[in-house]
């Protein structure tokens, strides 16, 4: 699946949290094993579950207190329904979202 120039945000679950990626930054999305592989520029990201695409997400900048205790760079924070969402900066995807070597090995079995 390729979603170039799409509007809104792709919402996904990974590592117990909910993450959002601007759809316009997503180059591809394919099912891999029990999860998904998402292409964002040159990066390969992983998702445990795809929650869907939302058109509107009110993104607030991450507050200093968050930056103080969490080293990752984000595009901001949002809420979808009652779920807090970390909005990913496509240039600096957090380590928890990276498609790791184990998942690459699993890919070969598909």
């Amino acid at each position: 699946m390729s979603v170039p120039h799409a509007r809104g945000f792709l919402l996904l679950r990974r590592a117990g949290g909910c993450w959002g990626i601007a759809s316009a930054a997503v180059d591809g999305l394919v099912a891999r094993g029990a999860g998904y592989r998402i292409s964002v520029g040159e990066a390969a990201l992983a998702a445990d579950e795809i929650l869907g695409v939302v058109e509107d997400l009110r993104v607030r900048p991450a507050a200093p207190v968050l930056r103080r205790f969490w080293p990752e760079v984000t595009a901001g924070l949002a809420v979808h329904g009652r779920l807090p969402v970390v909005v990913v900066d496509p240039r600096h995807p957090p380590a928890a979202l990276r498609f790791d070597e184990g998942e690459r090995r699993d890919e070969g079995r598909d």
Partner: protein, 147 residues
């Protein structure tokens, strides 16, 4: 003539006392927005131990910090009714909303400013006697500052 000043001083000295592990901590009441049953927290992988994760509160994303970890409190007994204290942190012009997870909300107390001693210049404003216990008096403005 001095009555309004006394009232203002008394208001500034009013704190919410909460239990965090073995410690009792006094939070300035003016910075407390709400006390709720412990909210559901979604973890942030790679975060420091003090940051439990993110929650939703009133339609806004809420970073939740573990108060016991913030003040290095020895762990206490399993809390029967853990709470999240939603507070404002940071300086007045740039305050932000944060949740503090604590073991229990205890009571509202008055802590006179001149009874607070030996702070660290940061989150810990100092210690003060309240009843038969020494409590940690916290400066929540300091928590919102960049490290």
């Amino acid at each position: 003539m001095s009555e309004p000043i006394e009232r203002e001083t008394r208001r500034e000295g009013t704190h919410l006392l909460v239990r965090a592990g073995e410690y009792a901590c006094a939070l300035p009441l003016g910075a407390v927005r709400r006390v709720v049953r412990a909210v559901m927290v979604h973890p942030l992988p790679g975060a420091a131990g003090e940051l439990e994760g993110l929650a939703e509160f009133g339609g806004e994303p809420l970073p939740v910090l573990n108060l016991g970890r913030l003040v290095n409190a020895p762990p206490g007994a399993n809390p029967a009714y853990p709470v999240t204290v939603v507070v404002w942190v940071g300086p007045a012009g740039a305050r932000e909303m944060v949740g503090l997870s604590a073991d229990a909300a205890l009571e509202v107390v008055h802590v006179p400013a001149d009874s607070v001693v030996a702070g660290d210049g940061g989150l810990l404003l100092g210690e003060a006697p309240v009843g038969d216990e020494v409590v940690r008096v916290l400066n929540l403005e300091a928590l919102g500052r960049e490290a």
